[in-house]
Amino acid sequence: MDFDLSTFLLEMFNFLVLVWILKRFFYKPVRKAIDQRQQAIEKSIADAKGTQAQADALKAQYEARLTDWEDEKRDARHKLQEDMEAEKTRQMDALKKSLDAERQRSAVLDARKQEDAARESEVTALAQAATFAAELLKRVSGPGLNEKLAEAFVEDLKNMPADQKKSLQKVCAENKTAEALTAYALEKPQQEAVKKALADLAGHKIDCSFKVDEKVIAGLRVSIGSYALQASVKDELQFFARAAQAAMPQEDAA
């Protein structure tokens, strides 16, 4: 357990030198390498954090954009639904109007068809009625009816309205002859009565010839130029049929 002062002092000096050596050649270089690596790691961490922050920002931005897109999509869908509802309503209204118009047109057509059918039925009925009447009158007609119609003809000439009488006189002034068609041959007195009535009406003698035509059915038809005086059953039936046909359009117009 010796103590040597020289060794003591030299050891103190040696250790201080050793501290310097280790600090200069060991601790500082190693510490520098560690610090550099630490800085590189911290830089990497900072870069990673920056990248993370950027990624978070981008994520937030994309999420916000996604939310906006969802809102826009929802609005667009809502608007589309509204437009579709409006278009549907509009088309339904148009369809309804079209259907109503079609229905009205159909109703009009049906009514017209019914009217046409009714008219055809009436025409047919009139024709049939005329036919039936003609057939019936053919069966019941005879010389007696013929004479009565001749008498009625003479009577009508006497009682003819003034304007007709005037126009007939005008025709008679240009034509001195007349032709009379009868279903049955008239007796001589009846022929003279007809001639006399015509002469009285015209104011001068009319040369009237009498012919027999069974189509007349009964009565007579006298033709003076373009003027015809009708007092036959056939002419009356034809007049009746024409009057009935003329009356139908007037009913449609009403």
């Binding site: 010796d2 060794t7 030299l10 250790f15 501290v19 280790l22 190693v30």
Partner: protein, 230 residues
Amino acid sequence: MTGQDTGISAHLVWQLGPVHITDTVVTTWGIMLFMLVAGLLLTRNLKEEPGPVQTAMEGVVTAIENAIKAVMPEGSRAILPFILSLWIFLVVANLVGVIPGLHSPTRDLSCTTALAILVFLSTHWYGIRIAGLKNYLHHYLTPSPIMLPFEIISEISRTVALAVRLFGNIMSMEMIALLLLMIAGFLVPVPILMLHIVEALLQAYIFGMLALIYITGGIQSQQLSQQKEE
């Protein structure tokens, strides 16, 4: 000055007037040269991606740093070179004795006393650097001047204990190994040498940790005093 030659005491190698160069000093120079060369070679080509040797060096530095930070979280860098040098030197110096023909410098009381005195001076040096001489000396008078003698006795006794503990342990281990080698023969001291390695590492750790505690105690007591005054 070297006393009786027991094979363990320091041998005088060279004398220059009043200056005695003992084998303790020569071995210390050898350790210093070894560390200088090793430091130059090993730190010559440090890379960002370390190899096994660089990893080991960085592990040593980091472990010592962490040990210091555990005791003193703030300002650990200031005392790190001193503590690091102390630990590395003590480990190497304690283990040198295992090599045949060499003796540990720390089996010499002059060496351990020098280290203990350096620790003692460092404690006050770092304390004065932080608080200033007046304030640092003032803390010996607080809380009461009556404590001053006890403080002085404490400083002396712990320094002496530091020096004698290391010297006694290392010297005794070497002596045991020498005695066993003399008595039992060639291979018998091997277990004792293994124990010597453990003891060398343990004593280096104890000495360095006590030095660290003393220094940080001096620094932190000043910091606490400043905080109280503020």
